[in-house]
């Protein structure tokens, strides 16, 4: 886990490299004027990122390494729930049973809760309504989806992703 000034400069360098790569890829014209404008906008972006506290430690570098596995699981989850929701919408009787559930978020830092809330919203059939003081309020399209969510798989995965 990176800490203090060292972590700050690692993040700074990572964002700088990303911005330079993005500019060079998207621009495609390599004249001094445009490269100068690119440098200027990179500096501006870094300044803005500094101002919103982007370089203060929000998550560990190891969380990024765990991200692909989490995304693979999330993709599978999205596919499954998409098929369910599509079946419900196409059903003539529209068998919905809207349910609102509340539960505590397992990740205790803000980024983990954002990841959890956004993952829940991204998978169809569940929409995060409110995240407040570590408590999530989620609207579910059917009661089965609500029960599945209350069993805590999302919570466990998100906490696992964000643990140090």
């Amino acid at each position: 886990m990176l800490s203090g000034m060292k972590g700050y400069w690692y993040r700074f360098a990572a964002l700088l490299l990303l911005l330079i790569a993005a500019w060079l890829l998207w621009s495609g014209i390599y004249t001094p004027l445009l490269l100068g404008l690119g440098a200027l906008s990179c500096v501006l972006c870094l300044y803005l990122a500094h101002r919103i506290g982007f370089f203060v430690e929000l998550f560990s570098a190891r969380a990024i390494l765990r991200l692909p596995r989490y995304w693979a699981w999330l993709l599978l989850e999205v596919v499954k729930s998409s098929l369910d929701v599509a079946r419900i919408i196409l059903n003539r009787k529209l068998p919905i049973s809207p349910t609102v559930i509340e539960f505590d978020a397992a990740p205790d830092e803000p980024v983990g809760q954002v990841v959890l809330g956004n993952s829940i919203t991204l998978s169809p059939g569940t929409v995060t309504l409110d995240v407040h003081n570590g408590r999530l309020r989620v609207h579910c399209l059917t009661r089965e989806v609500a029960d599945a969510l209350l069993s805590g798989e999302f919570n466990r995965r998100a906490a696992e992703l964000m643990k140090d």
Binding site: A22, L25, W26, L75, V78, V79, S82, V85, A86, I89, L90, L94, I96, S97, P98, T99, V100, I101, E102, G117, N118, S119, T121, L122, S123, P124, G125, T126, V127, T128, L129, D130, V131, R137, H139, L141, R143, A146
Partner: protein
């Protein structure tokens, strides 16, 4: 080999188009605001992934594929955030979520 990739990408595109259409249908058919959000997230999540990955397979390894990945990542990060902002704004301004069944299930 090339034709296998082609077939796969056509399948993904067709499935994506179908999901996008079903989501649009749901936005019209479902009865209240919060349930309509599920239909929107159907097109935003699954439809986007399928269509953009389908196009990506057609693009192959090129600059276009990198741009498509950037669009996909950008959409997948922003659309749940926008949905949350929308749902939260509706909740805070007093649109009631769910119906009478919601109270019993709450714990």
């Amino acid at each position: 080999m090339q034709s296998a990739v082609d077939v796969l990408s056509w399948i993904l595109l067709a499935a994506g188009g179908a999901f996008v259409f079903v989501g649009g249908l749901g936005a019209l058919r479902l009865p209240d605001f919060y349930t309509r959000m599920h239909a929107a997230s159907l097109t935003d999540g699954m439809g986007t992934i399928l269509i953009l990955v389908g196009i990506m397979l057609q693009a192959g390894w090129s600059l276009a594929a990198i741009k498509l990945i950037a669009i996909l990542v950008c959409l997948l990060l922003t659309s749940p955030t926008a949905s949350y902002a929308l749902a939260n704004a509706a909740l805070l301004s007093g649109v009631e979520p769910g119906n009478s069944r919601a109270g019993k299930a709450e714990n």
